[in-house]
């Protein structure tokens, strides 16, 4: 009987083509948008040239090294800055009209005039800092050499400047935890977590279709000789299968469509996703039975709980998660969305599986609570009238 009910429930769900489409489409569309939004944060971040102006005053005339640097930059293809050399008034007008990000006054200590704080202004600031610091070092070295009476040959200064511009790399990046090619995929875990918990809507639909006082279809089902719990289990399994398949499609898309690699953790990621879908579904069912009201109300409670959970898990703004862990740790443990998100992160960060196991165990305890709650609510209900 289980197989029969399971198959027909699956057919019923699949018949709602719009539902199927959106269950699949929603995470895929979001994954694509994520990918596009975060593409510029990776190691190949590309910024267009920043327009700035340099004031043509006496200091600038005397700053030969600076002039040479700017000229070299102008010859480059993808220059950091797009420089206009002009007088102060024009520069101020340009700045006011936001045609330039800021204007520069050359000197030993440079001056930068900007309108706002922001990324581009910071980049110009850093560039100027680095330039003046290196120039200062070069000046100090040359002066010192002259004081020592060392000979400075003709091409020395140029060679030296060239050498100074060849920056060496002193840092080696040690990945946090396991060896990961692209650290950004940690952000996709947020998406996976959120979409696992959208299984709650499936859970709600299941409860609606099994509780006789909630829908006509359920009333008919309760009249049949089929045991209510058996029907509920087979129906829910169909829902879980459908939702989980949607998640698998999302994982596949992430892996092959967007090149987000899960490097050897595939099995555990799928396992975590299954646990997440299951918990999401049971949470939806639990809320469906617990909360009294019409369908819209229950739906809104589920949305509310999922949203708050996702927010507190740091899925919209990562800093929230750290804030909670450091000030209110119990809140982190009581939030199933956070437990799911942390399971994914634990797979990424840690070599061993202790923290991962802890999180999954707690998550499944939640699922158990939801299951029991739902069971106790729907068992043996008799209605005087409907």
């Amino acid at each position: 009987m289980f197989v029969h009910l399971f198959t027909y429930r699956l057919k019923t769900l699949l018949r709602d083509r719009a539902l199927v489409f959106w269950t699949l489409a929603f995470p895929l569309i979001l994954a694509t948008l994520f990918h596009l939004a975060f593409a510029n944060l990776g190691p190949t971040a590309h910024f267009s040239s920043i327009p700035v102006a340099v004031i043509d005053n006496q200091d600038f005339q005397e700053a030969q090294a600076f002039q040479m640097t700017l000229e070299a930059m102008a010859r480059e293809q993808d220059a950091l800055l797009q420089v206009t050399i002009t007088d102060r008034e024009t520069a101020e007008t340009l700045l006011r009209n936001e045609d330039i990000v800021g204007y520069i006054l050359a000197g030993r200590e440079m001056e930068l005039h900007v309108n706002n704080t922001g990324l581009r202004q910071s980049i110009v600031n850093i560039f100027l800092n680095q330039f003046s610091q290196i120039s200062d070092a070069i000046d100090v070295i040359i002066t010192e050499k002259q004081t020592r009476g060392e000979n400075i040959e003709a091409g020395f200064i140029n060679d030296f400047i060239n050498h100074a511009e060849n920056r060496a790399n002193y840092l080696q990046n040690v990945p946090a935890g396991r060896n990961r090619p692209n650290a950004l995929f940690i952000l996709y875990f947020a998406l996976l977590g959120m979409s696992c918990f959208y299984g709650a809507y499936f859970g709600l639909t299941e409860v609606m279709d099994i509780e006789a006082d909630l829908s006509v279809r359920a009333a008919r089902l309760n009249l049949s000789p089929q045991h209510k719990l058996g029907a509920f289990l087979s129906n829910s399994s169909a829902s879980l299968l459908l939702h989980f398949c949607g998640q698998l499609v999302l994982l596949a898309y992430l892996q092959w469509g967007l090149n987000v690699s899960f490097a050897g953790q595939r099995f555990f990621i799928i396992l975590t996703t299954l646990a997440g879908s299951f918990t999401g579904l049971t949470m939806g069912a639990f809320i469906g039975t617990l909360v009294k009201g019409n369908y819209d109300f229950k739906e809104s409670v589920i949305t509310g709980v999922t949203m708050v959970g996702a927010f507190l898990a740091g899925l919209m703004f990562p800093d929230v998660k750290y804030f909670i862990h450091n000030t209110l740790p119990p809140l982190a443990w009581l939030n199933p969305v956070n437990l799911l998100a942390d399971s994914y992160y634990a797979l990424y960060y840690f070599e061993d599986y202790t923290r991962y196991a802890q999180n999954i165990a707690l998550l499944l305890i939640f699922a158990l609570i939801f299951c029991s709650g739902t069971y106790l609510s729907i068992r043996r209900k008799k209605y005087a009238s409907l």
């Binding site: 596009l36 936001e98 005039h113 706002n116 002193y170 840092l171 650290a183």
Partner: protein
């Protein structure tokens, strides 16, 4: 006026589920608005990066690096005096107590002074997807590249001298002047985040609320009864629209009231007035999109999915969650076809405004485009409404 009054009645009945949404989103917005008040001040004070500095040797050079890093970092001690274990460090990184780990191996200074490029390497671990750590990278590279100049130029120079001279050079910093004081100094960070988040929350609330109201009118029986009535379709749709718009504006009032509560400085400052005006525009186009979707789609689950995709999706590419500065150019071009993008753009501009004379034409452009979107979606909605209500003859 019956349809109008009826719309309001339906909304009233739906008030409880709506109330939950509104409550949840407002709660989140408040949280953001209050805690998001960062150190965005009118000078270049950056939030300090939390760094765990682990040096396996203590030399003037490494001490010099540490002293210099104090300009941008807040050092966090992990572990005990024996040193931090790898696990403790990973945990700290995981829970956000630190953002960056610097590990200096023993023998580094010696290798550096000998210009041994291969052995003079510092290991760093950054928290993934945290782009503020790139600044720490640049800082450290700059320190050693500058120091290296001395090593290359003077044979037999001591580490102490190198450190001292490098420090002098690195004390040189560009003086930055703000041409004008940024508007809303204290609350710039929090308020901007609050209003940007509205692009997600208000859109979601309106889409869910308005579509559940519209669903009542889409019931086949009710549609047929309405088709028999003497009230022309156009008027029916207009009244429906009016009811929903009133609801939307009421929501705007609520959000504004809340926002004013958040304000500490100048309730009627230019910035706040502009933010609220922009939010009103948001309400208008969000309401018209919701009206359009409500006319188009009736299935509950589809509405839920469409809401999430549109609200969250446009939020991401429009710059609500990731600031527009960090988004790629092509993506921004694509996003400029969504009203969210223009709303966020206007907000970013408003955050910099400190007086009425600062109004830039960009702001007016963004406002105009948002109005255009509102108008476009409204027309589309009314068009669809008209077509849908023509039922086949029997």
């Amino acid at each position: 006026m019956q349809v109008f009054k009826l719309t309001l009645k339906i909304i009233q009945k739906n008030l409880l589920p709506m109330g939950i949404f509104v409550g949840v989103f407002l709660g989140i917005s408040l949280f953001i608005g209050v805690s998001g008040t960062g150190t965005a001040t009118s000078d270049f004070a950056r939030t300090k990066i939390k760094i765990a500095f682990i040096a396996q040797e203590k030399t003037p050079l490494t001490q010099g690096l540490k002293d210099n890093l104090e300009k941008i970092a807040e050092f966090v001690e992990i572990g005990d005096s024996q040193g931090a274990t790898d696990e403790a460090l990973q945990e700290a990184l995981f829970f956000g107590r630190i953002q960056y780990i610097v590990r200096i191996p023993s023998g580094f200074t010696e290798a550096f002074m000998a210009s041994d490029k291969e052995r003079a390497i510092i290991q760093k671990t950054a928290r993934p997807a945290d782009h503020s750590t790139k600044y720490a990278d640049m800082f450290i590279q700059q320190y050693f590249n500058t120091a290296n100049l001395y090593v290359q130029s003077f044979e037999g120079i001591s580490a102490q001298q190198v450190a001292a001279k490098t420090k002098q050079n690195l004390d040189l910093e560009t003086q930055v002047f703000m041409a004008r004081v940024s508007g809303n100094n204290d609350t710039q960070g929090g308020t901007l985040l609050f209003f940007n988040f509205l692009a997600y929350s208000l859109l979601a609330i309106l889409m869910l609320g308005i579509s559940s109201t519209m669903r009542v009118f889409k019931d086949k029986n009710i549609q047929q009864r309405n088709a028999c009535s003497p009230l022309p379709n156009r008027k029916l749709n207009m009244q429906l629209l009016a009811g929903n718009l009133l609801f939307a504006v009421a929501l705007w009032f609520l959000m504004s009231g809340l926002c004013l509560l958040l304000q500490r400085s100048g309730i009627f400052s230019v910035g706040i007035v502009l933010f609220l005006a922009n939010a009103l525009l948001l309400t208008l186009w969000a309401a018209s999109i919701s009206f359009f979707i409500g006319n188009l789609v009736t299935s509950r689950n589809v509405i839920m999915a469409v809401t999430h995709v549109l609200a969250l999706g446009t939020g991401f590419i429009g710059g609500v969650f990731v600031p527009q500065e960090f988004l790629g150019d092509r993506l921004l071009q694509f996003a400029s076809f969504t009203p969210t993008f223009w709303y966020v753009k206007a907000n970013t501009a408003i955050a910099q405004v400190s007086s009425w004379s600062d109004l830039s034409p960009d702001l007016l452009e963004a406002a105009g485009i948002q109005l255009a979107f509102a108008f476009a979606f409204l027309s589309l909605a009314l068009l669809i409404g008209k077509k849908r209500n023509i039922l086949p003859s029997y």
